[in-house]
């Protein structure tokens, strides 16, 4: 027999709450008489399944004075910010805030935190491998060929602040200790920068004027209306 997909009621509603058929008519329609006949005059009766023995719980020895409401369960999983359709790997972006404002920069990929991974390239405009927020960026329609670049090892942890070592305060050596604590960029990061930029710079030099374009900063000149400009 084909499996029945929907559970349709045999007793259609005339009005919500009032069915078409009476109790005795439904008894006949449902075939309870046939089930009884099969079971020798009685309705089949199954023994209740015995519940497994649960170890008795100890009553708590502390009741809070006021009833505290339990917070609702939150099963929300945060996902990275929706990337604008105009931003694809290799797009040239214009940074709008921070020390690199106005710089034109190449977009590499979106990190799991939602931030965008960008690079100058460093040799061209001094912008290193960096994270930037999508909201502080204008996407131009200029694209750079990014196929030769491997960015798999770069993620949010790479850019996170390093956990500071606890300093023991020695009173006499206080000033000297402060001086030594300079942030030197580890050689590993410099090598990563060079690696990422190598193939990028090649594809940039293939397009005439693109290198000079990335080296220059963007600014609004007289007569430029941002709402009318096509980027």
């Amino acid at each position: 027999m084909a499996p029945k997909n929907s559970k349709v009621s045999r007793n259609p509603n005339l009005i919500p709450g009032i069915g078409k058929y009476s109790r005795s008519q439904m008894y006949h329609k449902k075939g309870l008489w046939a089930i009884k006949a099969k079971n020798g005059g009685q309705f089949p009766h199954h023994e209740k399944k015995a519940k497994p023995e649960t170890t008795s719980e100890k009553p708590p020895n502390f009741y809070p004075a006021d009833d505290v409401k339990k917070p609702l369960v939150n099963k929300r999983k945060p996902k990275p910010t929706k990337l604008r359709t105009s931003i694809t790997p290799g797009t040239v972006l214009i940074i709008l805030t921070g020390r690199f404002k106005g710089k034109r920069v190449v977009f590499l990929k979106q990190l799991p935190s939602g931030l965008l991974l960008i690079t100058g390239p460093f040799k061209i405009n001094g912008v290193p491998l960096r994270r930037v927020n999508q909201s502080y960026v204008i996407a131009t329609s200029t694209k750079v060929d990014i196929s030769g670049v491997d960015v798999n090892k770069l993620d949010d942890k790479y850019f996170g602040k390093k956990a500071e070592k606890k300093k023991k305060k020695g009173e006499g050596e206080f000033f000297e200790a402060e001086k030594e604590d300079k942030n030197v960029l580890p050689q590993e990061k410099k090598d990563d920068q060079k690696l990422v930029d190598a193939s990028l710079i090649q594809s940039i030099e293939a397009v005439p004027d693109l290198k000079a374009y990335l080296a220059a900063r963007f600014s609004l000149k007289s007569g430029m209306k941002p709402h009318e400009l096509v980027f």
Binding site: A212, Y213, V230
Partner: protein, 134 residues
Amino acid sequence: MPFKRYVEIGRVALVNYGKEYGRLVVIVDVIDQNRALVDAADMVRTQMNFKRLSLTDIKIDIKRIPKKKTLIQAMQEADVQGKWEKSSWGRKLIVQKKRASLNDFDRFKLMLAKIKRGGLIRQELAKLKKEAAS
């Protein structure tokens, strides 16, 4: 100064307001003091107020309210589009459109080209000045 561009059947006009902004249309009939029936190759024949039209110098030879096919043929024979694109008004509009559609990179390249041209001009001028002085 007498008028040179008249509203007449066959006058080509530019729409300067509304949904059809920027389109070249032909006046195919005059409805009353304020309105004309206009038609173009890829639009439905509609009425337009004269205030929405800017008359051009171009005129084609058609009878009152021609069929679409006849109109298109007449426009092609008179080479309306070609004449328009050669006229200074038409060329200006084309340049305006191009400038508005420039990419940020295109604007940068344009700036470089302008600087280069300016440099060449100044070189030539310096040469000419030297010759004139000597």
